[in-house]
Symmetry: C2
Subunit: 352 residues, 2 copies
DNA sequence: GTGAAAGCGCTAACAT
DNA sequence: ATGTTAGCGCTTTCAC
């Protein structure tokens, strides 16, 4: 981009026998140029291998790009905190190119909140959007609107079957469940598995972890057809109730060496219970690197965590959008499935 | 950097009652400024929160930064190929800031070659250096020379006890051995372990994997004090000899369920042997994501691979150097130990 | 439709 | 020791 590429807009103008103003017009497709000139200029650009110098471009431009990131709101220590970190990194990167960022949060359990956030974003007329979707239909509607307005958007975490997105960065959910089952069982003689799930009160919500659970169950039925799977539902907001349910589970199943799994980021609920009851005989696997999960991993109440760098996903999304806005370059791959990291007590300290 | 920061060098000049030329002089510390002015200007810069606009800076500057990367030469499919990929990415990044890159290779088994490469790099007077060191003393000498010339340098892969480097990006070697032992044994009843090693003919070479082997052995003696460890040396260049040695190993140890480990990237040698002899009863762990290792992982001749993103290490090194040259910002952390990735057949396809 | 010209914020050579 | 000035390559009025 720098080296031999000393071809400037002036060279192009000269070679095409026009002024650089005209060249700039065709460069940015803003019309008011005769077909003849345009053709000629395009030809010269190609011949000379002209590439615009985007420092000069940004310097001279008064344009102000702005990217909106739409993600669920969160408390400290929750899953989306890591995504926020990635957004911060992305902000740093985009800032270098004069692009500003704003994170717009919504209540992931409240459809109205999501809709409200979306229309706010639309109203602000962003140059690009990064979105972590939780509501299928509303997201599709929103995506359609963005497409119509020619606003590029990138999915993170999960994506929909719509086709207009610029890129997607997330974990392969089905495979993560499959992997999880392999790590949980790992050649052992497993007769029964407990899946702990979150009791969701709201309906109409697309739960992104069902695909993961499907992967998990498929692995088990392929490798352990005899194995029984039992679902237990816990309430994230009520410790008493949670402990009661788990106590019951432990009472009804007399095997001390239980196999326990959670398909979302809340395995710390199980770990806390085990810690309080001082039960160290179970094999427990969960997902994501929340602080409380890491603590449980170090303490030995969780044996392994399957993690994704959701910070990098967010940062990559922003980078992709930035490059698209500045360089007009679409990312190399549209669907980017990020790696699944297996963490245990011996490698978790070097994560992040 | 962009938004509210409309403070320009002109504002600073005005506020300090000098011309922008003088401000520029103190900005770049190139002297010829009275102590009084300098002090005043620095004060104003601080008060106004002035941050240089580096587009303008790069645009106007005729300076040509150049970074040299010194790494071992390699064949396709070897460990350093991944590092090269990272260098390519870094080249892309640095190129955006008008910084050119060149990769300088040396024969990692030949001291002369290393010295020769180093002096070539020195002669080219680079703005910064990335180096993957293999020869201790020579590297220290080289590092000293770079320090003297005020050329910033970054270590990748491994580092030395010298203190003048800008940053280091690599895997925690001792911990990786420790982790490896945990994955190999993983609660199993292990009585004997075979460490396969490369017979090195040259001496005077610092073998970066001894630290890893130490970690491995420490874990075993802590967790399996009774366990015996047997070293077997194979010749990387002679298949006949290799097979003979391994045949002998298998003949002398009658247990079919052997535990086998290699502490470098060449576990594919073992896998190929097992594949040819159709032995599927061993548990084999190795390091790094060479294509041949991945193939063995998928085929089931290797159970797990511990990997590092050496591409990201190289890219991060270049990014750090770039930011240092352009922004005069040292990286947040000097020593950056990258994460250790555990790969098995179910997550390896999403790696890289 | 097209050209001329005034910057964008900074660097560096040249005056003084 | 300090000020002046001519660009760097591009964008964007504003004439014509």
């Amino acid at each position: 981009m720098h080296e031999g590429n000393k071809v400037t807009i002036n060279d192009v103008a000269k070679a095409a026998g026009v002024s650089k103003g005209t060249v700039d017009r065709v460069l940015h497709d803003r019309g008011e140029v005769s077909a003849r000139s345009k053709e000629k200029i395009l030809k010269v650009i190609d011949e000379l291998g002209y590439k615009p110098n985007f420092y000069a471009s940004i310097l001279a431009s008064k344009k102000n790009f702005h990217i909106s990131c739409i993600i669920p709101e969160f408390c400290n220590g929750e899953f989306w905190e890591l995504t926020q970190r990635g957004i911060d990194q992305g902000t740093e990167y985009a800032g270098r190119f004069g692009i500003s960022l704003s994170a717009m949060m919504y209540d992931q359990y409240d459809l109205d909140s999501f809709q409200h956030t979306c229309s706010e974003v639309l109203a602000s007329d962003p140059s690009g959007v990064v979105i972590a979707p939780m509501f299928r239909n509303e997201t599709l509607k929103f995506a359609k609107e963005l497409s119509d307005r020619h606003i590029p958007y990138v999915y993170i975490d999960s994506k929909l079957e719509d086709d207009g997105y610029l890129a997607y960065y997330g974990m392969p959910m089905y495979q993560s469940g499959y992997l999880c089952a392999d790590i949980l069982t790992d050649g052992r003689d497993v007769g029964k598995i407990h899946i702990i799930r979150i009791a969701r009160d709201k309906r109409g919500l697309s739960d992104p972890t069902i695909t993961r659970r499907t992967g998990f169950i498929d692995y088990i039925s392929e490798h352990y057809p005899e194995c029984r799977i039992e679902n237990t539902f816990i309430d994230p907001k009520n410790k008493e109730a949670r402990y009661a349910v788990l106590d019951e589970m432990f009472a009804s199943d007399t095997d001390p060496g239980k196999y326990i799994v959670m398909c979302n980021s809340r395995v710390h609920f199980v770990a806390d219970y085990l810690r309080d009851r001082n039960i160290r005989t179970c094999r427990v696997i969960g997902f994501d690197v929340l602080d409380r999960n890491l603590a449980a991993l170090r303490d030995g109440f969780v044996q392994a965590l399957i993690a994704q760098h959701s910070d990098r996903q967010a940062a990559a999304a922003i980078t992709a959008l930035t490059d698209y806005l500045i360089l007009h370059e679409a990312p190399a791959k549209k669907d980017n499935y990020t790696q699944m990291d297996i963490l245990n007590r011996y490698n978790c300290d070097y994560y992040i």
